[in-house]
């Protein structure tokens, strides 16, 4: 049994335009099915606005999913009682993109790390102190630094504090929403390696959301490529990067720099902008920008099918 099993998840937002309120529906996530195995990492890539962050927040029920099913260890999360959901929050946590916005500027690191323990009534004061010191050791923070405020730390240190907060309750699943995008490249690798070490040590599963293809390749076991709220390709990391099937994935990967000067790069340039998710194109939502598009693409919604063993793609031309 997979640790997390998401099927046909939809996250629609209704926005009102203007005074009289002409309602438009934004389909941020539109029928996504993914699974995450214990101890493994699923990378989720896509342009900004493709719904990858909404997917993460929806799974944690930080926003209420519109439709679909999310099963954590076989237990349905959608529609779960608030009480049980709180219990389950111990098992699944989130690490945010912006380490400057994700820590309360008026609380010390100690208070920030103690909050999850207090909320879930873990231990007494002394036990909590021990847990926090243990935790701060894991992320390479000295004991004295615990009484500092977030603004006294660098971006990388803050992000590690954010990771420590997520780990405080010994979760099984971490949803990492672009956890290194806001960091310098040199600091990115430190944080990534820390995440990999912690994964080994605590048998964590990650859902790693990013727009950075190289980062995702480095950390993931499986990769899902998203476009306009839908998964267009999903497979093991090697398969996606070596033999990408969907034209969108191919275009994304062609933009990746290759450290090999002899290889001729044939870069696929996508035309146009990402269409608005409130008014997606008909048929295959990618047909407006797809170099392989034909007439049928505007009519047929391509299902996500197993095109090769363990390799799923949503394109009628593959």
């Amino acid at each position: 049994m997979a640790l997390l099993e998401v099927s046909n998840l939809k996250q629609h937002f209704t926005t009102k335009k203007g005074f009289l309120g002409e309602k438009t529906i934004v389909k941020a996530v539109d029928g996504v099915s993914i699974t995450i195995e214990e101890g493994k990492t699923l990378g989720v890539v896509g342009e900004s606005g493709c719904g990858k962050s909404s997917l993460g927040r929806s799974i944690l029920r930080l926003v209420e999913p519109t439709e679909g099913s999310i099963k954590f260890e076989g237990e349905e999360i959608v529609g779960m009682s608030a009480k049980r959901l709180k219990e389950l929050r111990k098992e699944m946590q989130i690490v945010f993109q912006d380490p400057y916005a994700s820590l309360n500027p008026r609380r010390t690191v100690r208070q920030i790390l103690e909050a999850p323990l207090i909320i879930h009534g873990v231990g007494d004061k002394r036990e909590r102190k021990e847990l926090i010191e243990n935790l701060s050791g894991k992320i390479g923070l000295r004991k004295e630094q615990l009484s500092n405020y977030p603004h006294e730390f660098s971006g990388g240190q803050r992000q590690r504090i954010g990771i420590a907060r997520a780990l405080a309750l010994n979760p099984k699943l971490i949803i990492a929403d672009e956890p290194v995008s806001a960091l310098d490249v040199s600091v990115q690798s430190q944080v990534l390696n820390l995440m990999l070490e912690l994964q080994q040590e605590m048998n964590l599963s990650y859902m790693f959301i990013s727009h950075d293809l190289s980062v995702v390749q480095h950390i993931s076991d499986k990769v899902a490529v998203m476009y306009l709220g839908k998964v267009v390709e999903i497979a093991d990391v090697g398969k996606v990067y070596d033999t990408p099937m969907h034209p969108y994935t191919q275009a994304l990967l062609s933009a990746l720099p290759v450290p090999d000067p002899t290889r001729i790069r044939s870069r696929i340039i996508l035309q146009g902008d990402l269409p608005s998710p409130s008014n997606p194109p008909s048929g295959c939502t990618f047909h407006t920008r797809c170099p392989m598009a034909t007439k049928e693409c505007a009519e047929i919604v391509p299902p996500l099918e197993e095109k090769a063993p363990g390799h799923f793609a949503a394109c009628i031309h593959v």
Binding site: K86, A101, N104, P105, R107, P116, I119
Partner: protein, 272 residues
């Protein structure tokens, strides 16, 4: 933080005035040269002298001593009104901003109703309805003052409520009560605290105004506004009877304003 206060001369002046007022209020019996209420008709309407620093009023009471005792009344009014209005306004504003939707609508429309009257008129009618006394003036002022804090706090809550640290708290399973008091309010209260320190001066001014028109402190209470009202009729013969209470009000309001403005610059945690 201390250095930031001391580096601004105007803030220091404000602090200096406020400290003097506090000392005057705390040690009034020791500082005052006479009783603030004792009538001495023999020495009525005396000009300022070594015996009566600020002169005497129409029934021979020492104006200096009355002003010193008056600091107690004014400070008490200012502090109590702000201490009542501030938490009410802050909590309502935080709830409105964080909850949004219908709860926000209800709270803010009530706030609008209060704000749609000129504050002093509303306070006058409340004080008049309850009957003239210091306590009723405080109630009336508190009732007109809280909506300002509600507005300030609401708007700063709205600007931070989608912050990731609040989302993180929700992801951890914190209940709305904890999120409101540990995450939302501490991060949105600074502008309102500064407003509160400015308001101490304005509340004192308004209370003096209400006492001046007879709705607040009643004679022989040494309240500055009431003293001003009394001295109105003797302005030609005794300039000192109106001048010194007026100056007392002026300096108190000025002191709290300068201090409040200075705090404005200091309260930002990122500059600590």
């Amino acid at each position: 933080m201390v250095r930031r206060v001391t580096s601004s001369p105007l803030t220091m002046l404000g602090l200096f005035i406020v400290v003097i007022i506090l000392i005057a209020a705390l040690f009034a019996p020791a500082i005052a040269t006479h009783s603030p209420t004792e009538v001495d008709l023999v020495s009525k309407l005396e000009a300022p002298s070594a015996e009566h620093y600020f002169g005497t009023d129409e029934v021979g009471r020492d104006i200096f001593s009355r002003i010193i005792y008056g600091t107690r009344i004014s400070l008490r009014i200012g502090l109590l009104v702000v201490l009542i209005a501030f938490p009410i306004g802050t909590i309502l504003g935080a709830i409105a901003g964080y909850a949004g939707g219908r709860i926000d609508q209800v709270i803010m429309r009530i706030t609008d109703v209060f704000l749609s009257f000129p504050g002093i008129i509303l306070a006058m009618s409340i004080a008049a309805a309850l009957g003239p006394s210091i306590e009723n003036v405080m109630l009336a002022l508190a009732a007109t003052w809280w909506p300002w804090y509600t507005r300030i706090v609401r708007s700063s809550v709205m600007s931070i409520k989608h912050s990731e640290f609040i989302e993180a708290s929700r992801a951890l399973g914190a209940n709305p009560f904890r999120i409101l008091f540990k995450e939302v309010i501490p991060n949105s209260i600074a502008p309102a605290t500064i407003q509160a320190s400015l308001d101490l001066g304005f509340v004192i001014l308004s209370a003096a105004g209400l006492s001046f028109i007879g709705l607040g402190a009643q004679p022989p209470s040494p309240e500055w506004g009431a003293m001003l009202a009394n001295s109105r009729e003797i302005l030609r013969e005794a300039w000192w009877a109106a001048t010194f209470p007026g100056l007392a009000i002026l300096f108190t309001v000025l002191g709290f304003n300068l201090l409040g403005d200075g705090l404005n610059d200091v309260m930002d945690p990122k500059q600590r």
